[in-house]
Symmetry: C2
Subunit: 347 residues, 2 copies
């Protein structure tokens, strides 16, 4: 490899609640190195008093930061550092106020906060977004992934008609699924609306801490039970689904009692049921707003995106893509927009 | 007290998943004695091998039964015994098949199963009910409470017009809330439909095992935060409520983040939010079925019934009563219907 190609241009941190991922990025945002550390904002390393002279409540962040990229910075001292996620929350390293939506995504890179480490390194922190509707909605970290997915889309856009590109719906399934509506106006992508569904966290709580989990089994060697999953997905589309999740979830148990679902089936059915209710709510919302997104892009773990792709297809969405490497692409785009990268480096 | 009034006519057991309540009933079903034991079907006493010669998987039931009412039976050996609840489930003392609905409530007493204890005592077990709809629904124990509430209602009925008595909606809030529709046809009460909502269990799982619970506080000495509860109740009635519970529940967190709800308020808000979604689903259901119940009767713990009464009132239900002693009344009615009580004893 040409040594210049291995030159560090940006250190990008994806710093969430339960984990920290550090990327060393080269020219054009190519990933040169990646480290995954268990030190999320809510589980920072405990620093012993001996190590931490002058310890304060931010010492854990300093220590984790050093472990994540201290050596990279010593090898390339002038490299800019950018971080997104819960690191900017009230419990984070430095609270970075939410920006209100609707917002043009280009504006986000112009609103980074900074924190200076004890060794003098500046870390730029990406703000989250807030939607001040009757029931407020917030995100931290997902805005960066959305920007990454849109950068990927931009690369394809010339081959599409303007109409197709007008509206994009970006789904980020997970603990707290987000669905983000993008509208393109005057060559600018704008985040116009987003919703949160606690699908992943609710699924874990139901399987682990309610009667529904007691008769479930893990998926067996034959893989997942697609029929049970699909059955669950469709419930919210039927008249019985009008009773809402509080009621339909109990059918996980009764379909077990009546012999219609075995232990593996109950687990898959509940997964489908929750995802199905999420998507049905999304359909209602889009209809109420007279929105008809030309395409759906999913960002997330591959297995989970496969579940959502299957469920979306079952209820009539027909153009669904999974966006890879959205986080590191987004951090790169934000650093570019913030002027952190000399243009020579970016090229 | 006249000794005849203290004479045991029926021993009635309310034997659920987590507890066992034993009633000693006298003439006309008056409660003479009540015992509460922690030995639900899923947490029976562990019987040591020394005690349990000839131990089998039913020994825990025998032991708990003896503790609950062995002395009562020795004092009044001919007394009939009836039991309702999970004691009749697959995990119970003797599985008692579900009866299908719609069903006239008088039929239930004619379908009791029996189990004989080692000492020769017959225990009559009340069957649960099943609704074999697309998403099946089951109950065990609630049918007995419904019968008790209807017996209470019967005592008042002469003073009401027939129209008022035609349709009654009975709510049993709790871990798994049930809503039971009753229609009176040719002087017979029939259970025509019922629904289950996992409201209580979901509330506990969300408070105990998700991010929503982390910023909550227990209610303080000033009592509950009614304003936060009411705010939660009304969410499902607003456009934002159309997004469904998976989405609206996240507002418990965001209203905390934005300072609109404190720790106590978040707990009360989530309680109201879940109950409000339950009642909104019930309203949709009643509308779809063109049902308009003349009155609502609630059965359950006083504090919980107070919450539901408040929530039902807030969304427009105007005749709501709480039925007291529904379980013991129901067991007495079922024993009467089954011919277990000599008529002299019943009077």
């Amino acid at each position: 490899m040409n040594p210049a190609q291995n030159q560090t241009r940006l250190i990008a941190l994806d710093w969430g609640t339960s984990s920290l991922r550090a990327y060393r990025l080269g020219a054009q945002g190519r990933v040169l190195d990646l480290r995954s550390l268990p030190w999320g904002v809510m589980q920072l390393p405990e620093v012993t008093t001996a190590v931490a002279a002058g310890v304060d409540d931010k010492t854990g962040f300093e220590f984790a930061f050093e472990q994540a990229c201290g050596d990279w910075l010593r090898a390339a001292p002038q490299t800019p550092v950018i971080a997104a996620g819960m690191v900017g929350s009230r419990q984070g390293w430095r609270e970075t106020p939410y920006l209100p939506i609707p917002i043009a995504i280009d504006q986000i890179g112009g609103s980074l906060s900074t924190v200076k480490t004890r060794s003098g390194q500046i870390v730029h922190i990406v703000p989250g977004l807030i939607q001040s509707s009757a029931l407020p909605n917030v995100m931290r970290g997902e805005e960066t992934q959305v920007i990454g997915a849109l950068a990927l889309l931009d690369a394809e856009r010339n081959s599409h008609t303007a109409t197709e590109a007008d509206q994009v719906l970006i789904g980020l399934p997970g603990t707290h699924s987000k669905w983000v509506q993008i509208r393109r106006l005057e060559s600018q992508d704008r985040i116009t609306h987003f919703d949160t569904f606690m699908t992943g966290e609710l699924y874990a709580a139901l399987c682990g801490h309610t009667i529904l989990g007691r008769t479930m089994s893990a998926s067996d060697a034959n893989g997942d039970d697609h029929a049970a999953f699909d059955r669950g997905v469709l419930v919210a589309q039927t008249p019985a689904g009008r009773n809402g999740l509080l009621s339909t979830m109990f059918s996980t148990r009764t379909l077990g009692l009546t012999g219609a679902l075995d232990g593996v089936g109950q687990r898959e059915y509940l997964s489908g049921l929750l995802i199905g209710h999420e998507i049905a709510a999304l359909q209602t919302l889009l209809k109420d707003q007279a929105q008809q997104p030309a395409r759906v892009m999913l960002i997330g773990a591959a297995a989970l995106c496969a579940r959502y792709t299957r469920a979306l297809g079952a209820v009539g969405f027909d153009r669904i893509d999974v966006a890879a490497q959205a986080t590191e692409r987004g951090l790169w785009q934000l650093a570019l927009g913030a002027g952190l990268l000399r243009s020579a480096a970016a090229d």
